[in-house]
Amino acid sequence: MSAIHVTTKINGDVVDYVCEADETLLDVLRNRLGLTGAKEGCSTGDCGACSVTIDGRLTCSCLVLGAEADGREIGTIEGMAKGDELHPLQRKFLEHAALQCGICTPGILVAAKSLLEHNPKPTETEVRFGLAGNLCRCTGYDKIVRAVMDAAQEMRRA
């Protein structure tokens, strides 16, 4: 099988990589580029642990080929904090203890950031529906929803 050369932008930086046709973007991020924030929960589009943005749109990187990222802009959890300064969502997740094992957390943060970009003032129902594609086996979602609502409020004030 012939390797495919891909030029993309990840969290603002130009990145070149070579991958096989049968590698997903999630495989490439984790195994070739060392960006292990996005997780593989199910690999079939069900859990959202692999969430990233492509050209600003929230997607499951487990159902995108690495080759498809050519010429696109990828956003991952690694690009969320500015250096040591956490994103308000990240801070609120800590404050509210909105995580336990943490497997779902990177995906939920990426999804929540995308949600708030589209809808800065969501209702609780909108948060729950908007994040429905991100499954969590630990928290029961309540603290996640509260952390997102709280962060949204803080971000509106800022």
């Binding site: 099988m1 096989e20 046709a21 049968d22 589009g45 997607t59 995308s114 994040l131 429905a132």
Partner: protein, 329 residues
Amino acid sequence: MRPFIFERATSPESAIAAFHADRATSFLAGGTTLLDLMKLDVVRPERVIDINALGANEIEISEDRLRLGASVRMADAEAQEELRRRVPMLTQSLALAASTQLRHMATLAGNVLQRTRCPYFRDVSWSACNKRLPGSGCAAMAGFNRQHAVLGASDACIATYPSDFAQALIALDATVDVVGRRGRRQLPFAKLHVPPGRTPEVETTLAPDELILGFEMPIEPWMSRSLYLKIRDRDSYEFALASAAVALEVDGGAVRQARIALGGVAAVPWRAREAEQALIGRVLDEASCQLAADIAFAKAQPREHNAYKPLLGRQTVARALLQAAAMEA
């Protein structure tokens, strides 16, 4: 995933030219069905043609027609304000499907060509599945068939057709715009899918090299009185156990035209034409809506674990009709 050759098409012509009749070739759109089933080893293309750059992204709404390009993402069609207002059933069928992530990725053509969620089809460790392995039998027949179809199924396959959006298309008398090696053609959406019969592995009337370019449908002012009602195990992010796409033209209290399509209960996109007929000239009330619902499921054939579906389906249809009747359209 098994290894395959990856190619990109930049136009419908180049996609068709890249198609190889002698090799298992698949078109890749959003990938949310194709890559999923490739990982599960259910489909095994040797060649994958990425069609994400070939265009077909148009949403054209005129006074009386709508055209939706094949590559339009579910999320983009769903977000169209004018469409939401003029044909709510269509945007609701998209908004109530899958998750935010998946709706961003999935295309309209991919959506109508998605494969069944029958667990025995999706898990290759089950040896009996006529759809996956023609002639091997059907594990669902004597298995856990709670999600399975009660309308349009056969002794060879009782899998449910899963798309929500397809129910809106069939209800709206959409046509499909298709291009392949033998040229371009249009076919009624109702003729795109074929019931399982004795060959459940054959799901559509498309030739393997044929590409969907878009969907077209007439839209009329009365279609603002339409909705998609989806009943499922949880409130979001789940396939339908039963659903109804309904549109009503009401004149002086009586029904002039009705459209009813059923999701979650049938083997193919399902139009309940006899139920529609029964409503014409009638006033919409509890009794007439219930009658139409009963007719829609008159030929239902339940199996061991889905015997609840005809009742759930009837209630879904009746409720959808009553809700549409109450709409200010």
